[in-house]
């Protein structure tokens, strides 16, 4: 009854009042429908034998056939393993380095040097993967690379053929990923450290606590929630790979697929290179669904650990 009274304004008048606001939202809503919601519905093509003459809706349903083909190949296991394992290493290493650099930066007394170091480590974060692939090429090119022509000869070593040797690539990709992303994590953790009350440190040094003890007993415990949150967010995205890192940096070299093929590059190649849309769409749906479950799960855990940082 109370509800009925408060909404005594006629519906039409209310709608008229808010019409400008709805109109304002219209372009964004239309965009999200086109760019996001229709493709979600389009995931059904994974269950179809796509025939462009019949169109997407007119193509024949084939149930799980695309998935049976996909999971019968060794590719499915390989791309899943590569995607997840690389991400596990990225999460551990990048967060470790990010926290370390942030702590070192925070307590640095030379302010100009501090500013310089921070600018330097953050710079790679703003660079596109295409440019990064050029930077890497300048080091690894077989006949002109800095490593093969300048560094390795100093040690009397013959340089390997980097772009055809798959076993060399896990460390390279891990290094490049850290090179690009540690600066971002460092800035993030630095802002978290700056939020710590300075009195804790003053009190601790009065008590004679060493630098290391202050880090161990004040800094680390107080930024732990931020670390946990970042790790959980990254775990939520563990089924998604950085396409540019795995495609451009190894220069799409076929000899390297064993260690460079991930779900995202597999889907791209299936769709645009080999024309195997069935497998590609099956792999895409697999990624979307598992990715969705992981995001929901990680958020559930975040909500348990620190509710204010949960996405929903």
């Amino acid at each position: 009854m109370v509800a009925a009274k408060t909404t005594s304004v006629p519906r039409s008048a209310k709608f008229k009042k808010y019409l400008p606001l709805y109109l304002m939202m219209l372009p964004g809503v239309i965009y999200l429908i086109i760019n996001n919601y229709i493709p979600m519905a389009g995931l059904i093509i994974a269950f179809k034998d796509l025939n462009f003459r019949k169109g997407i809706l007119g193509s024949d349903w084939i149930g799980f056939a695309n998935f049976r083909y996909l999971f019968a190949t060794s590719d499915a296991l390989l791309i899943t393993r590569n995607t997840v394992l690389y991400n596990v290493v990225f999460i551990a290493l990048n967060n470790f380095l990010g926290v370390t650099v942030a702590i070192l930066l925070n307590d640095m007394t030379a302010l100009k040097a501090k500013k310089f170091y921070q600018s330097a480590v953050l710079l790679p974060y703003l660079i596109s993967m295409v440019i990064i692939s050029y930077l890497v090429f300048a080091f690894l090119s077989n006949d002109r690379g800095f490593l093969n022509r300048t560094v390795l000869p100093i040690f009397g070593q013959q340089g390997p053929s980097w772009y055809t040797n798959a076993s060399l690539w896990p460390p390279i990709l891990i290094f490049v990923n850290a090179w690009k992303n540690v600066g971002y994590l460092c800035v993030l953790y630095l802002s978290s450290i700056l939020g710590i009350n300075k009195e804790f440190y003053e009190a601790a040094s009065l008590e004679g606590a060493s630098k290391w003890q202050q880090i161990k007993y004040i800094t680390l415990p107080l930024i732990k929630p931020t670390i946990i949150m970042m790790v959980l967010i990254m775990i939520g995205k563990i089924f998604y790979a950085d396409f540019g890192l795995f495609y451009h940096v190894p220069m799409d070299s076929g000899a390297l697929y064993k260690t460079t093929n991930v779900i995202d590059t597999y889907v791209y190649r299936g769709l645009l290179k080999t024309g195997d849309v069935g497998m590609s769409s099956a792999a895409g749906l697999y990624q979307s669904v598992v990715g969705f479950i992981l995001v929901l799960t990680s958020n559930l855990v975040v909500r348990k650990v620190s509710p204010e940082n949960a996405l929903f």
Binding site: V130, A138, G284
Partner: protein, 297 residues
């Protein structure tokens, strides 16, 4: 005294470690820049080095003189970055403002509608098929502008929160009493009062457009629509590309070849240069943006 000693050791360790990290971060750029000004034959013989035997500006001279393709791609990148950033900011803020209004009927539903796009997505295959087979944007400039980049749910929600917490409701209400319409409130009150968040999002969206190669790689096959990033992608795979596409390729037969090795590096330099130039000026904004979560991790 033990403490200051302890601190001194910390400072030394910090300097050593951070200097090493900074060197690792910057060195590749130095190698790239020096490679772009190394004489072509020196590159062929000694490879990419930091102390080349002979320097040369021939790569840049070539870019200025014959690089129609490059200048064009540069123009495409600039145009797409400016239009995309403006259009994206307007569309996103117009979606964010109503969502920031607690009195808007259906607010929760709309917010979820925006938010859900962050949790679940259709991925490349349906997106590609929709844009190419139904919306026909393949090989048009729209392909560089619209897919994926234009509106991001995360920025919309970031702006919504900012509007809701930084523009007091009484300000909006008194404007309404004075007879201002919603569009006027949005344009003359909300936007001017929210400059910091608009600037932050503009910076991130602008960099995303400048650096984008993904849309071009998927939707563009004709070189006349290449952005600078797409041109670089193409040249990495096909070192002859410039030669084949040069406006002078016929005239070039018999004359000196294009310094293709150093030119590649020179184009890469021109691709990063604008970022390097604006970096010192925007760095503080960028850092603040990361701190408020303007980057989708």
């Amino acid at each position: 005294m033990i403490q200051s000693n302890d601190n001194r050791i910390f400072q030394i360790v910090a300097h050593v470690v951070l200097a090493l990290f900074s060197f690792l971060a910057i060195f590749p750029f130095i190698l790239l820049i020096i490679s772009s000004i190394t004489e072509e034959n020196t590159l062929a013989i000694y490879g990419y080095t930091i102390f080349p035997k002979q320097l040369s500006g021939e790569a840049y001279a070539y870019l200025f003189k014959e690089g129609n393709q490059i200048v064009h791609a540069y123009g495409v990148t600039i145009m797409i970055t400016i239009i995309g950033t403006f259009a994206g900011l307007i569309i996103m803020s117009m979606l964010a403002y109503p969502l920031s209004r607690r009195d808007l009927p259906g607010r929760k539903g709309f917010t979820f509608f925006v938010f859900f796009t962050m949790l679940f997505n259709g991925g490349l295959v349906p997106t590609y098929l929709l844009y190419t087979n139904y919306l026909n944007i393949k090989n048009t400039y729209w392909a560089l502008l619209i897919p994926i980049l234009l509106v991001s749910a995360w920025y919309v929600l970031l702006m919504r929160t900012y509007f809701a917490t930084n523009v007091p409701t009484p300000v909006i209400e008194s404007a309404q009493i004075d007879g201002a319409g919603e569009f006027r409130i949005y344009w003359q009150i909300i936007i001017p009062m929210s400059r910091p968040i608009i600037a932050t999002v503009a910076l991130f969206v602008g960099i995303a457009y400048w650096n984008d190669w993904y849309n071009g790689m998927i939707f563009i096959t004709k070189p006349q629509y290449y952005s600078i990033q797409n041109l670089l992608t193409r040249m990495m795979n096909d070192i002859q590309f410039l030669q084949n596409n040069s406006s002078l390729s016929a005239a070039l037969a018999g004359t000196a070849a294009i310094p293709s090795i150093s030119v590649r590096m020179a184009i890469a330099v021109t691709g990063v240069l604008p970022i390097m130039i604006i970096y010192p000026f925007v760095q503080n904004n960028f850092v603040k943006g990361i701190a408020v979560g303007a980057v989708k991790g």
